[in-house]
């Protein structure tokens, strides 16, 4: 009896390592150490890239030990050199890529919200069946279309033009339809009904009620499209033939080869400067919208 009572009573002061506050503090320290360590590993390559890009002409890029941070050389003119490079100025593909990004983002936003609106808020025969097709096409490996799309666009006489690289975006795509539809389904039905009583047609409901509510998912779509077009290598590689029309991704590869072949001195600093130019806009965009983006991925996510 007596022992049971004593056992149940908490000791006046438990050993240090068993106290809750201490255990939580140790846990937090370990977590922060891990987070900082992994965060460093993730950022180091980019930091090295910046260091290399700021090296002057004739300076070694591969130093021993590794220079992870730009401490000595700050040749910011490298970026200008690359943009106006004699043999192949990079401002041109930069402008080309921006042009394609704008068209694609426009196309994706307009077409996918229209289609998703029908799937999310309208009733019509064949809905289940058509949506099943959407899901099915999501699973198809896109690369399979590489040759057949080329056959088609070549037959249309679009080879060598920008058309294959932006026209399809105006015709919606399975992933974006799916994401947008999931999001649009979350609004209450009363919204549509109230608007209809006020005399709105279907397009009016889409335009005035649904679209304004869709800003978060549209941000996600826009950023993913931007990223996809910006980093796309295969499309431009297959469809563009004049160096004039190259996008940044293939221009980088082109630039690397011509820089390697024409100049005997080490041009790694210039190649890294060019690469950084192609990375920075994505990073800026990402940091500008990261809150909506990560929140958007989480909310849009995988519910379905």
């Amino acid at each position: 009896m007596a022992t049971a009572v004593r056992e149940r009573r908490r000791p006046a002061s438990p050993p240090l390592w068993k106290r809750k506050s201490v255990r939580e503090a140790v846990h937090a320290v370990i977590m922060y150490a891990l987070l900082l360590g992994i965060g460093t590993i993730i950022l180091m390559p980019l930091s090295w890239m910046l260091t290399a890009a700021l090296r002057g002409p004739g300076e070694v890029v591969y130093t021993v030990p590794v220079s992870w941070f730009p401490t000595k050389s700050f040749h910011f003119e490298n970026f200008w050199t690359v943009l106006t490079y004699k043999g192949y100025p990079l401002w041109r593909p930069l402008a080309n890529t921006l042009y394609l990004v704008v068209l694609n983002v426009l196309g994706v936003l307009i077409s996918n919200t229209l289609v998703a609106y029908a799937f999310a808020r309208l009733r019509f025969p064949g809905k289940e069946f058509l949506f099943r097709i959407v899901i099915l096409t999501m699973l198809m490996p896109g690369i399979v279309l590489m040759v057949p799309s080329f056959l088609l666009f070549n037959a249309l006489g679009w080879y060598g033009t920008y058309l294959p690289l932006w026209v399809p975006s105006f015709f919606a795509n399975a992933w974006s339809i799916f994401i947008t539809r999931q999001y649009m389904r979350s609004f209450p039905r009363d919204l549509d009904d109230a608007a209809r009583i006020d005399g709105c047609g279907y397009f009016g409901i889409y335009r005035r009620i649904i679209l304004p509510l869709c800003k978060p998912v549209m941000t996600v779509l826009a950023v993913f499209t931007f990223q996809g077009v910006w980093n796309d290598f295969t499309g431009p590689l297959i469809y563009l033939k004049d160096a004039e029309k190259f996008t940044l991704a293939i221009a980088l590869d082109y630039f690397r080869r011509s820089a390697f072949s024409t100049v005997s001195v080490n041009t790694t600093n210039l190649v890294m400067a060019a690469s950084l130019i192609s990375v920075i806009p994505m990073l800026v965009l990402y940091f500008a919208v990261q809150r909506q983006l990560i929140g958007g991925i989480a909310s849009v996510g995988l519910k379905g």
Partner: protein, 316 residues
Amino acid sequence: MAVAAHRPARRGLTAQERREALAAYLFLSPWLIGFIAFLVVPIAMSLYAAFCDWVLIKPPPRWIGLENFRYMFSQDRYFLWSLGVTLRYMLMSLVPSLVLGLLLALLLNQRLPGMNLFRTVFYVPAVVSGVAVTLLWMNLLNPELGAINQVLRALGVQNPPNWLNSSTWALPAVALMSLWGVGGGAILYLAGLQNIPEQLYEAAEIDGASRWQRFWRITLPLLSPTIFFMLITGLIGSFQVFTPAYIMGGASRWGTSRHLRFYVLHLYLKGFQEGKLGYASALAWVLVIISAILVTIIYTTTEQYVYYEEQGKERS
């Protein structure tokens, strides 16, 4: 109610319903047109092309039956080779990225101040993928003086691998680069983790379940749909590796490195460098069949382990 009961079961759409259906198909038209023009038509064309001798420079395709497939299995020395490269890469990159992604997500799911900053940083590599990153990693992986091998030497590795110049280490090098972007998958896992109701953990804690038990009994089962999704998309994704293969090994000035001749690179070289579009279409179809078989196998073997919470719940 009564009106609905009197309505004929099938054909009869009311005027209102008919208008709604008409509007719906108008809204759907971009996708319907695109689906036919940019998906059904190309797929039909490539199905036909797979049985043809269709060369880019001399247009009229010539029907040759199964000849492309016979050539593929008997004479194309890179067909099986490139398939092997792709499958080996899949094993090297998929499993580590699934596991690491999950671990990172668990780390990022902690409730600590400043976590948003870390989430942002971890996702960065997923944002900047592409040619620039491939060029960056080619520099980092430089065998003599590259940063990675210097770090390895500092850690006491006597003879660090030659990476892209070596036949055994070229593929692991590409896998390593892809692992750098593992934070992208972690964010998706994180979304899944945050959908797990808090009460489950609280209940388990009251019942005296340890951290470890909570992970195996709650987190993992409830996360299984996400894991399954990542497995399938990762599988389909690693069949399609192209850019790093092309940049790092495919068309370098030293010629094509066979150790980085991924399946899709092989397809590209056959179709667009040699101009054999018919043969490349046949290669594409074989890839579709192989990935469909793999996905089906995975689907049937893992289905029993995937837990779907919303069974029988609201379905629109």
